[in-house]
Amino acid sequence: MQKTVEMIKAKCAELLADGTVRAVIAWRDGEFSYDKAPGFFTAEDIGSLCYDCTCAPNLSKYLVKEAKKEGRVAVLLKPCDTFSFNQLLTEHRIDREKVYVITIPCTGKVDIEKIRDAGVRGITSLEETDDGNITVHTMYGDKTFEKNDVKLARCFYCKGSADIEADFNAMEEKKAPADSDRLEEVRRLEAMTAEERYDYWRGELSRCIRCNACRNVCPACTCEKCVFDNDQSGVASKANANTFEESMFHIIRAYHVAGRCTDCGECSRVCPQRIPLHLLNRKFIKDIDDNYGEYQAGMEAGTLSPVTAYTKEDADPSEAVFMKNGGEG
């Protein structure tokens, strides 16, 4: 891995030096070295570019603004980010000519919260060892974890890599999807009674503090003006005063990306209250798959979202699949 990172760094430095790109979008250390933030690098500071098991942020969204400016930008895309990138191309939010795509390998990212949950305090840095374990350096000594125990939840449902034409490919081979069923949890919820589902979601959504992190990080949420920024929208951009606001915000947030959500899992990752927001998005994914045929947003650029299409044979809402095999209502 270290060799690959050096190669990526060298490539970025070369691109900046010969003027192919004016900036590189990658990751830099945030407040802590394990808390990576997106970084915009130029020739001066390209040395501080880093890529390791903590580089979870999806960088494709930053291209919407960056690709509007003069000159090209390079971007590092992990396999899961390639879906979001394709989706943004499909929606004409990014000019492909303005972007220099570097696809990079990924072996799964670490969820720092899982390490904290294991009772580890005073973390100073993380390190991925050659045998694939994670060594956590703390103020009180080192601790080693099996990677699977501290991996981000979304990485267990890795979709692999989308069909993408990279300008520079640092992946040895196209990443294959993980052998797991990402709709499993949605099915588990659907099998509950309406009462149980209501209680479950009340419990989850009542923790929402309306920080808007889920919306701001979402690569599909790229509207210049969001409905929730409208003070007439009925949901104020502050902590919810009423249970209705919580439900409304989360239904509409998920609905607005239905058919465009690539299931990158950023919403759940950034949620400070650990609300499983991806389960709302996956419900739409499941309903679309069940009713209108399997569809993976961003698998290739230029596909038509099932929500903006129709067939004459579509089922009425009362006959749709969820009505038949959903839970007891």
């Binding site: 309406a194 209501y198 299409a309 579509d314 009505m323 209502g329």
Partner: protein, 148 residues
């Protein structure tokens, strides 16, 4: 609540201008009865109904929301109701997923000639919703009428 203190549901019906609204008119001129608790909102096409409209209706005290449009294939704008069908399938699926009673939402196709169907649909829907009772799971307390 009606004057006698009995519970009657408030139902919001979004009716498309070209078929269902005319269907409601026909039900009226044919002297067919349907509950007075059905409040009709005329929309140019059933696909004009933003999912937010449905949620807002619940927020403002509706106990049931029904969308009526032209039969698929008969849309005045050719394809509007095909989109409605997909959108509402997804929205209703989500409401159901969040535990909001699925019987509170419905889509029906009512043509301008189907006054009888309009009355029958509204009677049936009002009955279903009144059996469910007041909308508690998607209510906004701030929008409730003050207690006397």
């Amino acid at each position: 609540m009606n004057k006698n203190g009995e519970y009657t549901p408030l139902i919001v019906a979004f009716c498309c201008n070209w078929c269902s609204y005319a269907g409601a008119d026909l039900a009226g001129t044919s002297r067919l009865t349907y509950p007075a608790d059905v409040k009709i909102i005329r929309v140019p096409c059933s696909c004009r109904v933003n999912p937010m409209f449905v949620l807002k209706a619940f927020q403002r005290g509706a106990d049931g929301v029904i969308l009526c449009g032209c039969h698929p294939g008969d849309c005045h704008y050719l394809t509007g109701n095909y989109y409605t069908r997909r959108r509402m399938t997804l929205l209703f699926g989500m409401l159901d997923y969040m535990g909001i009673e699925r019987e509170r939402t419905r889509v029906e196709w009512v043509s301008a000639a189907e006054g009888a169907k309009f009355a029958a649909v509204m009677n049936d829907f009002a009955k279903t919703v009144s059996e469910l009772g007041e909308n508690r799971r998607l209510e906004d307390l701030r929008c409730k009428k003050p207690l006397k």
